[in-house]
């Protein structure tokens, strides 16, 4: 195992893992608050990639040339629209099902996922779409023969993820909205009795999750430069694996699980086989569920009668 390849895979893994972590937040928060796996979350991320490209094209068309400014404007608008997606889906589809058995929301979420994928496919065409690569370059560390490379984009991904995570942690732990979210997560019925608008808080959680997915969507779009309507499926499962690995329901767990999964997957791809890296991630999910279902930082689930 050569050190520079290992370092390179770790760098790639951290950048990939931040993305997993950002998307995993949506899964983990929704699961924490209403106990439902939102299968459509991966596709919300996919929609956000499309919206990023569209908004960026419009912003460029309107004559904003400065890269940083146009990226920032794109990020804000994309987050707003994707957040609206989360709210809209929760309001129209999931809310009527809140009192039914647990199978109905799961099947509905599959339906939403199919709907989003195919609606985007039909309206934007099945071809791979792209954005221009804006931030090329990076710097290398090591000798001429043995080196690894840190791209500027990797640094941006990690920085933006850290900022987004810190903001979210601040909102959840220090604001009144966050306190309400935590209260609803702990005991929804009691929170309702104490006068918290539970419906609004659940909507808010969907919006927050979607916004985090939008951040990931923008970062991935400008990192890889290309995307299609199918990207949400595999990344969705992987992000969910990350959420489970970190302990579903736990915010720091989602980020930690994402980083861990990203790094492990990169190392596996670099040293064993890149064809089977998805198989590796899915197997990780199964293994974690078998041996430590509460994850790294989750609370063990206790079913009360």
């Amino acid at each position: 195992m050569e050190w520079h390849i290992l370092s390179q895979q770790i760098v790639n893994g951290i950048s990939l893992g931040s993305i997993y972590g950002l998307i995993a937040i949506g899964y983990t928060m929704v699961y924490g608050i209403i106990g439902m796996i939102n299968f459509a979350h991966g596709d919300i991320y996919m929609v956000s990639a499309y919206i990023t490209a569209i908004v960026f094209a419009v912003v460029t068309f309107l004559g904003v040339d400065a890269v940083a400014l146009s990226l920032l404007i794109t990020l804000v608008i994309t987050m707003a629209i994707t957040g609206l997606y989360g709210w809209y889906i929760e309001r129209t589809v999931y809310r009527p099902l809140r009192t039914t058995n647990r199978l109905a929301p799961l099947i509905t979420a599959i339906g939403v996922s199919l709907l989003l994928q195919n609606y985007v496919q039909i309206s934007q065409g099945p071809n791979v779409q792209g954005v221009p690569s804006l931030i090329p370059g990076g710097f290398t560390i090591g000798t001429a023969d043995e080196f690894f490379r840190i791209r500027y984009m990797d640094m941006i991904i990690v920085t933006v993820s850290i900022v987004a995570m810190s903001l979210l942690t601040f909102v959840i732990h220090k604001t009144s909205l966050g306190r309400q979210c935590r209260a609803v997560e702990q005991d929804r019925k009691m929170a309702t009795i104490l006068g918290i608008n539970t419906g609004r808080i659940i909507s808010t959680v969907f919006v927050i999750g979607s916004m985090m997915a939008a951040v990931a969507g923008e970062l991935v779009t400008f990192n890889y430069g290309s995307f299609d309507f199918y990207i949400g499926f595999v990344l969705g499962i992987k992000a969910f694996s990350a959420a489970v690995l970190g302990g579903i329901g736990s915010l720091p767990g989602a980020m930690l699980g994402g980083l861990l999964l990203g790094v492990l997957e990169s190392i596996f791809a670099g040293f064993v086989s890149s064809d089977y890296k998805d198989v590796f991630s899915f197997s990780m999910l199964v293994l974690v569920l078998v041996f430590k279902p509460s994850g790294l930082m989750g609370r063990p689930a206790v079913e009360k009668v």
């Binding site: 439902m36 796996i37 299968f39 929609v47 499309y50 919206i51 569209i54 908004v55 094209a57 419009v58 068309f61 629209i81 609206l84 997606y85 809209y88 589809v93 099902l97 058995n101 647990r102 199978l103 109905a104 799961l106 099947i107 509905t108 599959i110 339906g111 939403v112 199919l114 709907l115 994928q117 195919n118 609606y119 985007v120 039909i122 309206s123 934007q124 065409g125 779409q129 792209g130 954005v131 221009p132 595999v234 499962i237 969910f240 694996s241 489970v244 064809d275 089977y276 998805d278 198989v279 899915f282 197997s283 999910l285 199964v286 569920l289 078998v290 279902p293 689930a301 079913e303 009668v305």
Partner: protein, 521 residues
């Protein structure tokens, strides 16, 4: 004066005789002030939000780093502006409508949740029901045959529709469970019908109106019937969401293809061993996961389905990779469906002394699949009224209560899961042998979704509903080729709408009746 609810029938009758009682007047007086302003505001907000959601994706079309704006995009459902206007319009009228008295009554009557379960006694007046079913089936079959003979639709299509109707009628009989000490309510009619179901395709084939192409379509539809019945046990009866059902289907299909390639396994051996292999896979996967909260199963099976597909794609040396692998045809007592004898194999047409036709293989698979589907339906019907079947449904309804009553939730769930996988394995063998070829493309996530749609649309737990849904969803695309692009979109929409409005399926699942004597025995 308020309207006091009456308990006696007399008062109700009085109230209806006197149409203009003060109470009714008072009620309509308060109703007449419909809050138009609120409705308008509500509709505007809904419309604008809908536009904001749909418009960026639909009205701005990406074109390689640039974009094209199309404010008047057609068809209308691909235009965010029109969707927004439509939502606002509909919402306004609905919100005004439900404020009127008629609207309120309508809401009360149709939009309140259906509670409770319907109980059905299949043994009551079985013969009358059979006559009714046969009458309707004969009328429908007659109409289609008349259409076919008069040339409005292809004769082959008409024959296929008749066979589907026949299949459903027989399934309706097979689906009635046998009770202890009781005869089947259809008496001797069921075996006769079953024979008719075997003979009619042969007659159609003899007259040359049932050939390879429609036989192949019906085989595919029946494979989905099998898959639907298998998943119905897992999702419908046991309440476990399995999103990787296609993995077991793939195990069955590849068992035949690779078994023939490496171990020289024939169709019949595979038909027995492949389902067992699929069930073992199901057991290995299900055992650790079923111990936990049910939701995890969905995502683990989803991951497992993808793992199987990725292995099939990437393990090129063994599975043939994306190019797939050939699968052998079935044989009848070592007689083969080939034109010329290879080695010591005897072609079936030479043995029977009839001219060669490539249709024989498909007709044979059709008949065999028909028998096996009915057998599977029979077994599943009987299981449902046996203790194991009742435990599945009980666990679905309340796991904690069942566990406290001493039901081992892991083994009960595992039995459902493995039985579903077993059925998937059977379907896989038939798929491989009918296509003569397997490739990973046939086992993607969409297949799992299609099978799930069949179960959801058919009404979870309802075998007849599942069968009708399987035929509809697999044969309808044959007729509606122009809409092929919208198929998945419709499936998604269907799943959402069904879950919100009719979670029990279009045909409601009914519980079989359990009589008192039977329980006390």
């Amino acid at each position: 004066m308020s309207h006091i609810p009456t308990s006696t029938g007399q008062d109700v009758a009085l109230a209806s005789v006197v149409p203009k009682s003060p109470a009714v007047d008072g009620a309509s007086a308060t109703r007449s002030s419909i809050d138009f302003k609120h409705s308008l505001k509500d509709a505007m907000v809904a419309g604008v939000l809908t536009m904001l959601v749909f418009s960026p994706i639909t009205n701005f079309i990406l074109q390689q780093y640039s974009f094209k704006v199309d404010w008047f995009r057609t068809p209308l459902f691909l235009n965010g502006i029109s969707i927004g206007l439509l939502v606002a319009f509909v919402r306004f009228f609905v919100s005004v409508g439900i404020q009127t008295e008629t609207g309120e009554r309508f809401t009360q009557k149709y939009l309140t949740a259906q509670k409770g379960v319907e109980v059905e006694d299949e043994h009551a007046d079985g013969m009358q029901r059979l006559k009714k079913i046969l009458l309707w089936a004969a009328i429908a079959a007659g109409i289609f045959m008349a259409l076919g003979l008069s040339g409005v639709i292809y004769l082959g299509t008409a024959a296929a529709v008749v066979l589907v109707i026949l299949f459903i009628v027989i399934a309706m009989g097979v689906r009635i469970p046998k009770r202890r000490g009781m005869k089947h309510p259809w008496k001797g009619a069921l075996p006769v019908l079953f024979l008719v179901g075997l003979v009619v395709p042969l007659v159609f084939f003899y007259f040359g109106i049932f050939g390879k192409s429609w036989a192949n379509n019906l085989i595919l539809a029946m494979i989905y019937v099998l898959l639907g019945l298998g998943l119905n046990i897992v999702v419908g009866l046991a309440g476990l969401l399995d999103l990787g059902f296609v993995a077991f289907y793939a195990v069955g299909a590849y068992f035949l293809a690779l078994g023939a390639q490496y171990l020289d396994i024939g169709f019949w051996t595979a038909l027995i061993l492949a389902p067992v292999a699929a069930a073992l896979c199901g057991g290995l996967l299900g055992f650790p996961v079923l111990k936990m909260h049910g939701d995890y199963l969905a995502i683990v099976t989803l991951g497992f389905g993808e793992i199987i597909r990725l292995v099939l794609v990437n393990w090129i040396d063994f599975t043939g990779g994306p190019n797939g692998a050939p699968a052998p045809s079935p044989t009848i007592f070592n007689l083969e469906f080939i034109r010329r004898a290879k080695g010591d194999a005897v072609p079936i047409h030479e043995f029977l002394g009839i001219p060669y036709s490539s249709d024989y293989k498909f007709i044979f698979i059709y008949l065999l699949l028909f028998i096996i589907s009915m057998g599977v339906l029979r077994v599943f019907t009987q299981l449902r009224v046996m203790p194991i079947g009742r435990s599945w449904e009980a666990l679905r309804e309340d796991e904690i209560a069942c566990r406290s009553l001493g039901i081992n939730h892991v083994t009960v769930k595992l039995s459902a899961f493995m039985l579903g996988a077993f059925t998937g394995g059977i379907a896989g063998v038939f798929f491989a042998t009918a296509q003569g070829f397997v490739s990973p493309m046939s086992f993607n996530f969409f297949e799992s979704v299609l099978i799930l749609s069949i179960v959801v649309l058919g009404g979870m737990g309802n075998a007849i509903g599942v069968i009708i849904a399987a035929f509809t969803l697999t044969l309808l695309p044959e007729f509606l080729r122009d809409f092929a692009g919208y198929r998945v979109l419709l499936f998604g929409l269907l799943m959402i709408l069904m879950m919100i409005w009719r979670p029990n399926g279009l045909l409601r699942a009914k519980r079989p009746v359990f009589e008192r004597e039977e329980v006390s025995v």
